[in-house]
C-alpha cells in the first residue's frame, strides 16, 4: 500500500478505534490517485462508529470531486447513498453535481471547559440545500444567500452551536476558491485559518482561546488576523508553526495562492551609509545601482579578474562618494561568506545594503549568506527592470524563516547630480563598457564617465559648487 492510497475497509477495521482519525488524516493530503474501490467491501468496515465512518468516507469522496473537478472513479454504489454531512439531508449522489463549484477551508474551534481545540472543515456549495449548517453559526448573514455552508466538526460536537465569528475567514476564502478552482487543493490541504471578516474584506481580530495548541497537531500553515492575534500566536504556538498575519481577504488569498511567499511592501532604503556591491563582468549595472542608492560609502567587492574593473569604477566616480575596494575569491563560498561577514559586522551601527546583481553565482550566494547572518537587506536589479526599480530581499524577522521579497522604486541620487546622470544609458541592459587591449585604465575611466554623464563627463558647475562647499 502506498502511503497516499486510501486504506481498505479491512485495514480500517484493524485500525479501530483510530479508524476515524486515520480517515481525517486524508484531508491533510492532496487527493491525487485515490482508489475508491478499496472501500467496496462495506461489511468489512469497523463495527464501532460505523455510521460516522461511512459519512467520513462519503465526505472524502465529495472532497475528491471538489478538488479534482471530476467524479471520483470506481465509487462503491453503497457509498453514493450515504449522507456525507450531518447538517444536510442529501446523500453523496445528490451532492456530487455541486462539487464542481464548491470549496473547502479548515478553521480551528477552541475547546471550552477543558476540552481540546479541534480543526473543523467548512464547505461552501453553490446551491441552496433544504438544510445546512447556518443554524449552527453566529453571524451567518455573512454567507451569500446563493451558497449553502456545511461544517464538519469532530463527531462528539457535531450538533453544537459554533460561537463567535472566527469561521468567517474560512468561509470567505472558500468563496474565493469556489471561483478559482486552482486554489481549492491548497486551501483545503495546506492551510488553517481563523479570523472575522467585515463587509469591506478587512480581517478582524478574534478570540484565540486555546487554538494555538493545534499548531503541533497539524502541519498546516496558519492565517490569523494581523496585530494582537498573530503576536499572541507567536508567543503561545510551537516555534515551528508557520503562521502569517493578514489584514485583508485579498492578502489572505494571496498567501494561499503564492504558498505563503507574498510580496512584502518594502520602503525604498534611504539614506544608506554603506552599499556593498559585487562586481562581475558588467560594470554598468553595478554603477547604476550605486548611483541610484547613492550611499555615503561604496564598498566594491571584486575578484582577481575584476580588480581592474573595480579600479576603473572607483576612478570614474571620483569624489562623488567614498569608494573602498575589497577583494574576495570567486570560487570559494565559505571564504566569500566569512570575508564579507567580517566586513559587514565591523560597521553594525551603520545602515548597510548589499547589491548582489553582479558577480558570479558563488559570489552572489556567499553574499546572501553573509547578509542573512548580519540581518542586512539585499537588492538586485533585474536585467529587464524598469528605471529605478529594484528587487529587495530581507531576513529581518527571523533568519530561519522564509525571506521577505518585494519590489522597491526610488532614487537617492541628489537632485543636482540626478539631472546630469544619463540614466537611460545606465539602466539599458545593452550598454557595455568597451574594454581596452592591453588594459588602459584612463581610457576606460573616460568611457565609463561618458556612459554615466549626459555631457560625457562630470558637470563643471557641480564640481565648482562642490569645491565651494
Amino acid at each position: 500500500m502506498n502511503q497516499a492510497d486510501l486504506p481498505s475497509s479491512q485495514r480500517l477495521r484493524c485500525a479501530s478505534p483510530n479508524a476515524l482519525s486515520w480517515l481525517d488524516n486524508y484531508f491533510e493530503r492532496a487527493p491525487d490517485a485515490w482508489n475508491f474501490s478499496a472501500w467496496s467491501n462495506r461489511e468489512a468496515l469497523p463495527l464501532a462508529n460505523r455510521e460516522t465512518i461511512e459519512s467520513r468516507m462519503a465526505e472524502i469522496a465529495f472532497w475528491y470531486a471538489t478538488a479534482q473537478l471530476k467524479t471520483p472513479p470506481q465509487l462503491p454504489p453503497w457509498l453514493l447513498a450515504v449522507k456525507p454531512f450531518a447538517d444536510a439531508d442529501e446523500c453523496l449522489n445528490q451532492l456530487l453535481p455541486y462539487a464542481n463549484g464548491a470549496a473547502m477551508a479548515v478553521f480551528p474551534l477552541a475547546g471550552c471547559d477543558g476540552r481540546n481545540p479541534k480543526l473543523a472543515r467548512l464547505y461552501l456549495l453553490p446551491c441552496r440545500l433544504t438544510r445546512d449548517s447556518r443554524s449552527r453559526l453566529s453571524f451567518a448573514n455573512a454567507i451569500p444567500k446563493e451558497y449553502s455552508v456545511l461544517i464538519v466538526t469532530p463527531s462528539e460536537e457535531s450538533s453544537d452551536k459554533i460561537a463567535g465569528d472566527s469561521w468567517q475567514l474560512a468561509a470567505a476564502l472558500a468563496q474565493v476558491a469556489a471561483n478559482e478552482p486552482a486554489l481549492r487543493v491548497r486551501l483545503g490541504v495546506d492551510w488553517a485559518c481563523t479570523g472575522a471578516v467585515n463587509s469591506h474584506g478587512k480581517v478582524k481580530p478574534v478570540e484565540l482561546g486555546n487554538k494555538a495548541a493545534l499548531a503541533t497537531k497539524t502541519s498546516r500553515r496558519w492565517l490569523l488576523p494581523d496585530g494582537d492575534n498573530i503576536a499572541l500566536w507567536r508567543t503561545t504556538a510551537a516555534s515551528n508553526s508557520d503562521a502569517f498575519g493578514v489584514r485583508s481577504l485579498t492578502e489572505a488569498a494571496t498567501y494561499v495562492r503564492e504558498y505563503g511567499v507574498v510580496t512584502h511592501q518594502f520602503q525604498f532604503p534611504q539614506p544608506v551609509d554603506e552599499l556593498h556591491v559585487l562586481l562581475g563582468g558588467a560594470i554598468t549595472p553595478a554603477l547604476a545601482v550605486s548611483m541610484q542608492i547613492f550611499p555615503r560609502r561604496l564598498c566594491l567587492w571584486h575578484s582577481e579578474k575584476t580588480r581592474h574593473d573595480a579600479e576603473v569604477m572607483q576612478k570614474a566616480l571620483g569624489d562623488l562618494m567614498k569608494v573602498e575596494l575589497q577583494a574576495m575569491p570567486s570560487d570559494n563560498l565559505a571564504a566569500i561568506e566569512v570575508r564579507m561577514r567580517d566586513r559587514l559586522e565591523k560597521q553594525s551601527a551603520l545602515t548597510r545594503l548589499v547589491n548582489f546583481t553582479g558577480g558570479n553565482r558563488i559570489m552572489g550566494f556567499g553574499a546572501m549568506l553573509a547578509a542573512r547572518h548580519c540581518r542586512i537587506s539585499l537588492v538586485y536589479r533585474d536585467i529587464d527592470a524598469p528605471p529605478d526599480q529594484l528587487d529587495m530581499i530581507d531576513f529581518a524577522d527571523d533568519p530561519t524563516m522564509l525571506p521577505r521579497h518585494g519590489k522597491v522604486i526610488g532614487n537617492n541620487c541628489p537632485d543636482a547630480w540626478r539631472q546630469c546622470v544619463n540614466w537611460e544609458m545606465l539602466y539599458d541592459s545593452k550598454t557595455r563598457l568597451p574594454k581596452s587591449e592591453p588594459p588602459d585604465t584612463q581610457a576606460e575611466v573616460e568611457r565609463l564617465q561618458q556612459i554615466l554623464w549626459q555631457e560625457g563627463h562630470e558637470p563643471n558647475d557641480i564640481n565648482t559648487s562642490r569645491t565651494m562647499e
Binding site: M1, Q3, P7, S8, Q10, R11, R13, C14, A15, S16, P17, N18, S21, W22, N25, N41, A44, P46, L47, A48
Partner: protein, 391 residues
C-alpha cells in the same frame, strides 16, 4: 449486591427454582450417561497404522482478531468446552474485563442476570460472579457471535457497578436475577465449582502471560543472537552447522534498509508468544544465547497518523505484513504479535498479523504499558510474529 425483598421476589424465586430443576436434571442425565459408558464393553480396536490421517470435515472459521469492543459476545477458542462471554470493558493495558455466559437458561444466584434477547438459550444468562480479566492475546483468538444492544449494555453496566459498589439494584433489573445461596448443601455451589473449572487452564496461562509481561515491560530482555530454525544439517556433517547464526534480535536496521522506507524489523518465531517471552526473559547465559527464528523481514509502517512520541499516546499502529503465509485455498493466515522497543528492549504491546484478500497487515492493537519510551520512527519498534497461544 444488596437484595431487599421487593416486587421482584416472586420472579426471582421462580428463576431460581427453574434453574435448580434444570441443573439437577442435567446432572442426573450426565451421571446416567457416565454409568452407561462404564457398563459398555470396550470398543473393538482396529489396525490404523496404514490408515490415512484423519482430516477435519470442515475448516474452522478464522478468529475475529480485529476490533475488541465492549458489548461483543464472543466464543473463546482455548477452553475444551464451549465458553461464550461478554466483553464488558477494557480493564487495564492489554487486558479486558469479561463476563462468561451460563450454560443454563435461568439465573442461578443474585449474581447472575437473565439477559434474554432471544439469541439462544446458552446466551441468556450472564455470570457476574465469574467475571474475570483476560489478556487480549487470548481474547482475540475467539469468534464474534453477537453484540448487545445499547439498552442491554446499559443494564449490564448498572448491574456490574452495583456488584462492585454494593449499591441497590433497580427492581426491574433485580427481577431478572436469582436468589442468593444461603445453605451449604445448595446444589448451586456445585454448579459454581463446575463452572470455575472451565477456566482453570486458561486462567493459569493468562497468569503466566501477565507475569511474563510484567518482567518484559519493566526490564530489557536479552539481546540474544538468532539462529535459523529452517536450516538443515549438511549430509556430510550431520552434527555440525545445524543452525545458522543470524544477527542479534534488536540490532539496528542495516544501512541498506535504513532510510529507504519507514520500516521495522519483523521476526517470525516458530514458538508461541509465551514461549518466546520466557526465552527472552531468561538471563543471557551459556546455554541460551540463541533463539530460533524462522525469518527476518522488514515490515513497512502504515502511516495512520503521527507516531506516538508522547509516553501516554497508545494508538493502534499498523504495518504491511511483507510475506504473509497463505495456503492454497486462500484462507486467511494469522499470527500473534509482540512489539518491543528496539533500543530499550522492553515490551510495548501485543497484537496480531492477518492476511485477508491478499492484504497482509500487522497490528499493534493492545499496549501493555501505560507509558512507553519515546518512539521517533518505526525503526524503534521490533516486531515478533508468533504462533497462536495454546492452553
Amino acid at each position: 449486591m444488596k437484595t431487599p425483598k421487593r416486587n421482584s421476589q416472586p420472579m426471582r424465586e421462580r428463576w431460581t427454582r427453574s434453574f435448580i430443576q434444570q441443573y439437577l436434571r442435567r446432572s442426573e442425565l450426565q451421571r446416567l450417561a457416565l454409568a452407561d459408558a462404564e457398563e459398555d464393553e470396550p470398543a473393538p480396536s482396529y489396525e490404523v497404522a496404514d490408515a490415512p490421517p484423519l482430516r477435519p470435515r470442515a475448516q474452522a472459521a478464522p478468529h475475529d482478531l480485529e476490533e475488541l469492543l465492549p458489548g461483543q459476545i464472543r466464543l473463546l477458542s482455548q477452553p475444551k468446552e464451549m465458553v461464550w462471554l461478554l466483553i464488558l470493558r477494557q480493564w487495564d493495558s492489554g487486558t479486558w474485563l469479561i463476563v462468561p455466559f451460563s450454560p443454563f437458561s435461568f439465573p442461578a444466584t443474585e449474581e447472575e442476570y437473565l439477559l434474554g434477547g432471544n439469541r439462544t438459550k446458552y446466551l441468556d444468562v450472564l455470570q457476574f460472579w465469574n467475571a474475570r480479566t483476560l489478556n487480549a492475546l487470548f481474547l482475540r483468538r475467539s469468534w464474534l457471535v453477537s453484540t448487545l444492544t445499547p439498552e442491554e449494555m446499559q443494564c449490564v453496566e448498572i448491574l456490574f457497578d452495583s456488584s462492585l459498589s454494593g449499591d441497590a439494584v433497580p427492581d426491574d433489573l433485580l427481577a431478572n436475577t436469582g436468589l442468593p445461596i444461603v445453605s451449604a448443601d445448595d446444589p448451586r455451589l456445585d454448579y459454581k465449582t463446575e463452572n470455575l473449572v472451565r477456566f482453570t487452564d486458561l486462567d493459569s496461562a493468562d497468569l503466566q502471560m501477565t507475569e511474563l509481561f510484567s518482567i518484559a515491560t519493566a526490564q530489557p530482555v536479552a539481546n540474544v543472537v538468532t539462529a535459523s530454525a529452517t536450516a538443515k544439517p549438511a549430509a556430510a556433517e550431520p552434527q555440525k552447522h545445524r543452525t545458522i547464526l543470524l544477527p542479534k534480535l534488536f540490532s539496528p536496521l542495516p544501512m541498506a534498509a535504513a532510510g529507504k522506507n519507514e520500516v521495522s524489523v519483523c521476526w517470525t518465531a516458530p514458538a508461541t508468544a509465551s514461549a518466546l517471552l520466557a526465552q527472552l526473559c531468561q538471563r543471557q547465559g551459556r546455554n541460551n544465547n540463541a533463539v530460533k527464528m524462522a525469518a527476518m523481514q522488514y515490515a513497512t509502517w502504515l502511516d495512520t497518523g503521527k507516531l506516538p512520541c508522547e509516553a501516554e499516546a497508545t494508538p493502534v499502529l499498523m504495518w504491511e505484513w511483507p510475506d504473509a503465509q497463505k495456503d492454497s485455498k486462500g484462507t486467511p493466515a494469522t499470527a500473534d504479535a509482540l512489539f518491543f522497543h528496539r533500543k530499550r528492549r522492553t515490551l510495548l504491546g501485543t497484537g496480531y498479523a492477518l492476511r485477508k484478500h491478499d492484504e497482509g497487515t500487522i497490528v499493534l492493537a493492545d499496549w501493555v504499558v501505560e507509558e512507553h519510551p519515546r518512539i521517533n520512527s518505526p525503526e524503534d519498534i521490533t516486531i515478533f510474529l508468533t504462533a497462536p497461544e495454546k492452553v
